[in-house]
Symmetry: C2
Subunit: 225 residues, 2 copies
DNA sequence: GCAAAAGTGTTTGGGATACACCCATGC
DNA sequence: GCATGGGTGTATCCCAAACACTTTTGC
């Protein structure tokens, strides 16, 4: 194009915001940095995206290496979040961060590789870089996804109770829903079907298990809440 | 971090999808490429994003230089769209494109700088790179924005008729709306107010002019259509 | 008076909301 | 029998959708 002067691109980095429900609360995976800058602080898992790899490929490789998690296999849903590019966000120099957000229900970081911990989104530690902002942005995006798509499935095992389903929504939205209205509305969407299995646990009536009819992300006919 | 081998970032580029209504149709600005690759083909205005500038700053500079349009001043609304990063999208080598989408109502490209033309989204020419895909993605995002925010304001002058407003929605959505229901619903949102001015043109009843109460982007209390 | 766009109301159906009690089980 | 969470129905209100005629102007 028109730039005769040597063109120097910014560094390109990738970061993953991985959500999972733990004890009925929405949690996000953070890794404790072992090197400067921000040594010892908590950060999103991520790293440098080199030429020749898509950002998602780079992220898969990096997160697998640093945290022992495969974002492609261990997450049930993943999407590109946003590209953060302010010049001062990395003290080492201008770094453009292409970020991704995903959800899973059985993510087990490999603690041998690094200190990786899930923190409740309502009780996050101080974070390196602009990662607190990124997590907040991801949470807002997630709320939106759950309202107009069937993305909740990403938080649930194959068979689940309606109470678990409702709890997933409540954990993401941050407020409680009416049980009768929730069930009526959700069932009317026709995304799930009853199974003939029940879960019995504790001194109370067993709960019927449901499952999603389709494993694919769909836009809802009527948006949720 | 962990990469001892020399790290080579991909090229970072920026591209702008600029929408404007022309003759009641949604149009997008394309520039005819004057150099290889894709010489002579139509493409989104864009270029290289160097270290030390945000992608939006780079885009402002590049689009001003290549098309004579200031995305910051000539667009009423702009947002980051998506980052396209497939390895093969640019034949010269791996280029990660951070794209933006915006809307205006009085965009006048400087034809002295390049051949810049607005094309109706329903009648686009063959396009360079993956730019057809990007325009389609932007159009979908725009439809979503108009359904849950007051972003239509970006297509309209300060004073406008309800017929113009409805036409803007129809041009973006691609289908027609019922006039009575449209007015009832839109007015009930309380975003606009009547003025005491009328527009008279042609052999028919003059139309009352309205204006938006606030120039800011807002999420609607009830989403639109 | 006629062509052309502006403007205006009512009916109906469905979904959202609010709300309280019985059911099945383990101990 | 009691504590615990699972499961269910109804009344009201508001909004979405469907639908056709009158008004104001220029010529």
């Amino acid at each position: 194009m028109q730039y005769k002067t040597p063109y120097t691109p910014p560094t390109v980095t990738v970061d993953a915001v991985m959500f999972q429900l733990i004890d009925n609360a929405l949690n996000v995976a953070l890794i404790q940095r072992s090197t400067e800058p921000f040594k010892g602080e908590w950060a999103l898992p991520g790293g440098y995206a080199p030429q020749g790899e898509t950002t998602l490929q780079a992220l898969e490789r990096i997160v697998l290496h640093k945290a022992g998690v495969s974002i492609l296999n261990d997450l049930s849903y993943i999407e590109q979040l946003y590209t953060f590019d302010s010049v001062a966000r990395d003290p080492r120099g201008h770094a453009v961060a292409v970020t991704y957000m995903g959800c899973g229900q059985n993510i087990h970081p490999d603690q041998a590789k690094a200190v990786v911990t899930f923190f409740p989104v309502n009780n996050l530690p101080p974070m390196a870089y602009d990662h607190a902002e990124i997590v907040k942005y991801a949470h807002n995006r997630l709320i939106a996804k759950l309202t107009y798509t069937n993305a909740v499935y990403a938080f649930l095992p194959q068979y689940f109770t309606l109470a678990e389903l409702q709890t997933a929504y409540e954990a993401v939205f941050g407020y409680e829903l009416d049980k009768r209205n929730f069930r009526k509305k959700f069932l009317s969407l026709g995304l799930t079907e009853e199974t003939d299995q029940m879960r019995r646990e504790g001194a109370h009536r067993p709960a019927r298990l449901h499952r999603f009819k389709s494993p694919d992300l769909e836009v809802l006919s009527r948006s949720f809440d």
